[in-house]
């Protein structure tokens, strides 16, 4: 096996172990929640006239286990269902599979997050380079502080500010929902136009979340690379300025992959606030709503998916880094 394949296998294995740990953790978490899961439903079903077997079966379908089984059996049942991609059924949306709910919510989180990430990366990296090159001047310092400030301000503060400015004050952009109600969903232009219009503010909010991080990381990386021996060496060897810029750029971008890995966690955390504020039916919103209705299967499923997404994103970022840095490859 080549070195790369071995490393890939190692990372995947670690990832799988982490996912398993998270799955187990989620299982016990759900069990720690008040009202033994399944029991409440079981009682309700019995009371509504089902036979014990029917009630059991229904609970089994929702959770993957019933509270009558031993803990180990419950755990086994849970894992078994997971392996089939079955996350149980929602309680509040009776009978609807959790995976279905998650699937329809996922795009409303992933697409704005990725768009925001891309926008903030582009702007943040450029700003970081400027901040590094002009770091002794007043503008450079100001830029840096702005980056730190934006990085430190909580997500929903940003979202609220955006709303206040662009909706309440200027009424330029809508405040809620993914699109105007009058348009039929589908691949038609008015609907898509409306979706885009409604998406501007959330995407901006996501972009603001990680912009600070990109700026600060890029600035510190560029400053560090500028001090490296080979940059001076390239100048003394008469290397053309454009080539030197490429040398600096590629070396400086490298450490930013760790920022990328971190950003996913930040983005998902921000999704709760952003989706709540803008009334966007994404994963974060799903989790919040399920808390309100004590819909345990959905809660567990959403939590699991969010955590696993972050782990997977981290692994991918890690692998990309390995691919690009020859010092890590063998």
């Amino acid at each position: 096996m080549t070195g790369f394949a071995r490393r890939l296998a190692g990372k995947l294995l670690t990832g799988l172990v982490m996912v398993w740990v998270v799955v187990t953790f989620t299982f016990f978490l759900v069990h720690a929640l008040p009202g033994k899961p399944g029991d409440v439903q079981y009682e309700q079903y019995i009371m509504s006239g089902m036979t014990a077997d029917q009630a059991s079966a229904k609970v089994q379908a929702i959770y993957g286990f019933t509270s009558h089984d031993s803990l180990l059996a419950q755990y086994g049942g849970y894992l078994g269902k997971l392996a089939h991609g079955d996350l149980g059924q929602s309680i509040s949306y009776s009978g609807v599979p959790v995976s279905h709910l998650i699937w329809s919510a996922l795009p409303w989180t992933v697409i704005p997050v990725l768009s925001g990430l891309l926008v903030s990366f582009l702007i943040g990296v450029v700003a970081g380079i400027v901040a590094a090159v002009k770091r002794s001047s007043r503008w450079g310092g100001l830029l840096t502080v702005s980056g730190s400030l934006v990085a430190g301000v909580p997500a929903f503060v940003l979202a609220l500010l955006l709303l206040v400015v662009f909706h309440t004050e200027w009424n330029l952009l809508p405040d809620a929902g993914t699109s105007d109600i009058q348009y039929d969903p589908g691949w038609n232009l008015p609907y898509i136009g409306s979706v885009v219009q409604h998406a501007v503010l959330p995407v901006c909010a996501y972009a603001l979340l990680s912009y600070g991080g990109w700026l600060l990381a890029m600035k510190s990386s560029v400053v560090s690379v500028l001090g490296d021996d080979f940059i001076l060496a390239s100048e003394l060897r008469g290397i053309a300025p454009v080539t030197r810029a490429r040398y600096i750029g590629r070396n400086a971008i490298l450490p930013l992959f760790t920022v990328l890995a971190l950003s996913f966690g930040v983005m998902f955390a921000g999704s709760f606030f952003i989706e709540d504020t803008f009334d966007y039916p994404g994963l974060g919103d799903l989790l919040l709503k399920s808390i309100g209705t004590r819909d345990y299967p959905v809660m567990a499923g959403a939590f699991l998916l969010i955590t696993v997404s972050i782990i997977v994103a981290n692994i991918i970022a890690d692998l990309c880094y390995t691919l690009i840095d020859p010092r890590v490859r063998r």
Binding site: V21, L29, P34, V145, G152, L160, A269, F272, I291, R294
Partner: protein
């Protein structure tokens, strides 16, 4: 045989020049002094603010009143003075942030120090534990925990944030401890026959404290964000008002998004959070330079 109680790290000797260096770092750029002033301002507001006010008065005749001489920032949805709410709310926010920092450092520093000192199996176990805590995303976990535990009071909130957030500190402290180890610090101490507890608390801790303090100040921003956020999302019960509560009320009950009247009620705590964050960020610049002299640009 004289018992050597003097510490190898002569921290006492360092104290006076440290104060002078601190003052110089802070006054070097005007921004940092502003940051310090802002922080002090809010701390004072948190400590002394509530003394000036009695109970929150409710005035049904003056709902969402605009700013006036009587109510500098107007009133909220129940007719209560917004300024009073902002000032008294500061105490909760800052107290919780401080408590979160306390618990986070309690867990994180202890675990990091022990792991860095012991190494071997203990270190491995503790690091696996830390990795686990770091992998589980904090906010979703907090959200789920809020269903079982209503951690409304500053102590409870601080404890919960500490429990979920010590991972980063532990890892950073451990890295510092390992580098101390490289510098032969620990071997010298062991050679002198100093006890393990002494080594960890009297030798390693003072050397790690500055770096840990800086990390903590950074995480203060995150703590403020987390606690205000949890209130904003309506996941935690509130007994008295604080900035997060105000935001929640403003957006979800007061319709501040629509009516310009309620705007001040929304903006007041928002601006406070912004300014406090700005203050910490500006001031952190000074601390950063103190502990990272390499970053100092040439005058």
């Amino acid at each position: 045989m004289a018992t050597a109680t003097a510490t190898l790290a002569a921290s006492a000797r360092r104290r006076r020049p440290a104060l002078a260096a601190f003052r110089k770092a802070v006054t070097r750029k005007p921004g940092r002094l502003i940051g310090l002033i802002i922080i002090v301002f809010f701390v004072l507001m948190g400590i002394c603010g509530p003394w000036f006010y009695g109970r929150l008065a409710v005035d049904p005749n003056a709902l969402y009143a605009p700013p006036s001489a009587k109510h500098w920032l107007g009133t909220d949805f129940a007719g209560s003075d917004v300024l009073q709410e902002v000032v008294t709310g500061a105490r909760y926010v800052l107290a919780t942030a401080a408590l979160s920092a306390f618990f986070t450092s309690l867990f994180g520093v202890t675990i990091g120090l022990v792991a860095g000192y012991q190494r071997g199996v203990t270190d491995s176990i503790l690091m696996r534990l830390t990795d686990f805590v770091l992998t589980i995303p904090g906010l979703p976990l907090l959200i789920i925990l809020s269903t079982v535990w209503s951690f409304g009071s500053p102590w409870q909130m601080g404890l919960v944030l500490g429990i979920t957030g010590w991972g980063g500190v532990a890892r950073a402290v451990r890295a510092q401890a390992l580098s101390l180890r490289e510098r032969g610090f620990l071997e010298a101490a062991r050679g002198l026959g100093l006890s393990r507890r002494h080594i960890i608390f009297k030798e390693m801790l003072p050397n790690i404290a500055p770096y840990a303090t800086m990390q903590l100040m950074l995480s203060m921003i995150a703590f403020v964000g987390a606690e205000v956020g949890l209130f904003f999302l309506g996941l935690v019960p509130f007994s008295s008002t604080n900035w997060g509560v105000m935001l929640n009320q403003a957006v979800f009950s007061g319709g501040a998004m629509e009516t310009p009247d309620a705007l001040i009620y929304l903006l007041a705590p928002l601006v406070c959070i912004l300014v406090l964050t700005l203050g910490i960020v500006l001031f952190l610049d000074a601390i950063d330079e103190l502990f990272n002299p390499r970053l100092r640009e040439r005058a």
